[in-house]
Each structure stands twice: as structure tokens, then as C-alpha cells.
């Protein structure tokens, strides 16, 4: 009887373990994305500012940047500057794919994060919090330095 109950317990334990492992497997695997060299170009008069960074994906699967926000600004949007036929314009971007073992650059003259309506005075030398949202639900929290308008 004692041995029977032990076998029963072992079976229950094995089942629980199997359930636990399969639950783990069904969770989305964490994306291997990190944010590097981020910075904000300061502008005066509460004008919209641009945020730049390199997002590197060290994983085996491509990842997708689906948006970003900042507790320091009322609104943040992914944008892309486009130069065509002698005209420069900005376009809203829904998402940017980051290839496996690759990177995307948010850099002056291309992709950037447009930060609007600062919630408090921001000046060069400050840090601004930016949360990068990946498709799949993961969020990467960063704190980016604010640099003068004429930073190269």
C-alpha cells in the first residue's frame, strides 16, 4: 500500500512536471534584443524631439519593434525621414523588423523616435526614459541622455 501511494505520487509529480515544461515551452521565447548608443536631440520651446538608438537582435529569430513610449513625453511615434525628388518628408512607421543576428539603426536622416509634448522641462544633460515595445509583448526600458541640438 505504501509502495502504491509512492508510485501514485511519482506519477502525479511527473505529470505536473510535464505540464509545467509544456507551459514553459508555449510561452513566447524572450527576444534577444538590446538597445545601444541611444540619445535624444534636445530642441527648445517644447518642440518635438528625436530619439536615436541601435537595436541589436542576438536571437535566431527576427524580432519586430512595434512602438515606443516615454513617461517623460505625452506622445511618442516611430518615424522615418524620406528624401525623394528633392523633397524631405517624415512618415509614420507602424513597425520595424530587426533581422536575426542583425540590427536596425535609428539615426539622423532615417528612422527615429519622435517625442512630443514634454511633461516637464527637459534640457541637455538630462536623461529621458524610453520604453521600447517589441511585437510579442516584451518591453525594453532605457534611459537616454539628452544632447544639445547641434550634436553631430
Amino acid at each position: 500500500m505504501k509502495r502504491k501511494s509512492m508510485e501514485y505520487l511519482a506519477a502525479v509529480f511527473a505529470l505536473a512536471l510535464a505540464t509545467f515544461i509544456s507551459a514553459l515551452e508555449s510561452l513566447p521565447s524572450p527576444a534577444h534584443v538590446n538597445v545601444q548608443h541611444g540619445w535624444i536631440r534636445w530642441l527648445p520651446a517644447n518642440l518635438p524631439a528625436a530619439g536615436y538608438a541601435t537595436l541589436r537582435n542576438d536571437g535566431n529569430k527576427s524580432a519586430r519593434l512595434a512602438g515606443a513610449d516615454s513617461p517623460d513625453y505625452a506622445e511618442a511615434m516611430l518615424h522615418r525621414s524620406m528624401g525623394t525628388n528633392g523633397m524631405d518628408q517624415m512618415q509614420m512607421v507602424d513597425a520595424i523588423d530587426i533581422p536575426a543576428h542583425g540590427k536596425i539603426d535609428l539615426a539622423p536622416g532615417g528612422y527615429h523616435l519622435m517625442l512630443m509634448q514634454p511633461k516637464h522641462p527637459i534640457k541637455p544633460g538630462d536623461s529621458v526614459r524610453v520604453r521600447w515595445h517589441l511585437a510579442g509583448g516584451e518591453t525594453i526600458q532605457t534611459s537616454l541622455p539628452v544632447r544639445p541640438a547641434n550634436s553631430d
Binding site: 534636445w42 528633392g86 524631405d88 518628408q89 539622423p108 536622416g109 509634448q117
Partner: protein
């Protein structure tokens, strides 16, 4: 015999002078587009970033570098203004001969006050220009610098598509060179130095 030697020296000198003169008239190797004779002279009646009326004649005697943009432009306008700021630094002794003008194509939002803060954040030597919508439209049309107000967003904001042109005028106000926001600091500096040397 010494007579012949003297003659030969004169001939050599003459040849060298002719060669120099020929070099002087060879077209300069511009890196930007040569637009001499293809765009009107610098001409406008606008308001500067101190709120005062200003005309093109106020800048005669300076080499003028003109760029159209707007202050709610956080990426490509700053990139271009940083390039022009670096050009001013690289010009060295010629810096004082050059005037950068930033013309707003968004006069509804770009008051002289906002414009003043914006241009000064890049380089205090930049002068910002704004005006009535009609004045700005006429100015842009004159230089074929198209601009369009894009669709209004949910937050009431809007973007402005605008010419990427960087217009360079000589001291007499004649349009000489046309670059874009994609041109490098070195290319713009090279051509400005050449222009200053060509027509000092």
C-alpha cells in the same frame, strides 16, 4: 648672346602667365550643382527671428547659404542645420563672409520667437526668416522650393514636406550653387571656399 637669353626668359614668363590665365578661366570643380543663371537672384521681404522686417539687400556683400525648413521638424532639419554649423566652423577665416538663412515654410507655427530659439540652438550666426503665408509661398515658388502641409494628426499636429535644397548665393546675390540635405559637410565647405576664392 645675352640678348637671346633675355628673349628666352621673356618667352618663358609669357608662356607661364598664359598658362596661369588659362587655369584661372577653367571651370571650378564644384561638388554641388552649378545653377548660375538658372535661379533668380536672392530677393525677399520677410521678418527675421528678432521680429524685424528684413530684405535680401540687407545681406548683399555676404555669401548666403539658404535652407527651407520648419521648427516642428526634429530630424532632417536639425541634421542639415548641424551640417551648416559644422561648415561655418570649417570655413575658418572665411566664416565672417558667409550668412546662413533658415526660411520657415510653416509660418502658422513658426513665430519669430520660436524660430529665434530654434536657430540659436544650432548656431547663433544663423538668421531665421518667417513671414505671412503669402510671402513664404512667393519666396518658395521663386526658388522652386515646393512644400506641402501633410494630413493633420489626431493630436492636431501636422508634418510639412519641404524642399531639401541648400541654395548658395554670391556676394552680389546671384544664385550660384544648389546642394541638398544629403550633401556632406566637406562638399559644402569645399564649394564655399572655391566660390569665395573665385569671386572674393
Amino acid at each position: 648672346m645675352p640678348h637671346l637669353k633675355r628673349l628666352l626668359q621673356f618667352a618663358l614668363l609669357g608662356g607661364a602667365l598664359a598658362l596661369l590665365a588659362a587655369c584661372d578661366h577653367a571651370p571650378p570643380s564644384w561638388q554641388l550643382n552649378d545653377v548660375r543663371g538658372h535661379l533668380p537672384d536672392l530677393q525677399f521681404n520677410l521678418t527675421n527671428d528678432n521680429g524685424n522686417p528684413i530684405t535680401a539687400s540687407d545681406f548683399r556683400g555676404k555669401y548666403v547659404v539658404m535652407y527651407f525648413g520648419y521648427t516642428h521638424c526634429p530630424d532632417v532639419c536639425p541634421l542639415t542645420l548641424v551640417h551648416l554649423h559644422l561648415v561655418m566652423q570649417k570655413l575658418g577665416v572665411d566664416t565672417g563672409k558667409v550668412q546662413i538663412l533658415f526660411v520657415s515654410v510653416d509660418p502658422a507655427r513658426d513665430t519669430p520667437q520660436v524660430l529665434h530659439q530654434y536657430v540659436n540652438a544650432f548656431d547663433p550666426r544663423i538668421v531665421g526668416l518667417t513671414g505671412t503665408p503669402a510671402q513664404i509661398a512667393a519666396m518658395a515658388k521663386n526658388y522652386r522650393a515646393a512644400f506641402n502641409r501633410d494630413a493633420t494628426q489626431a493630436n492636431g499636429g501636422y508634418e510639412v514636406s519641404h524642399s531639401s535644397g541648400i541654395y548658395i548665393f554670391d556676394r552680389a546675390g546671384h544664385a550660384r550653387l544648389l546642394g541638398t540635405s544629403a550633401d556632406t559637410v566637406d562638399a559644402i565647405t569645399h564649394d564655399l571656399k572655391l566660390l569665395i576664392a573665385d569671386s572674393p
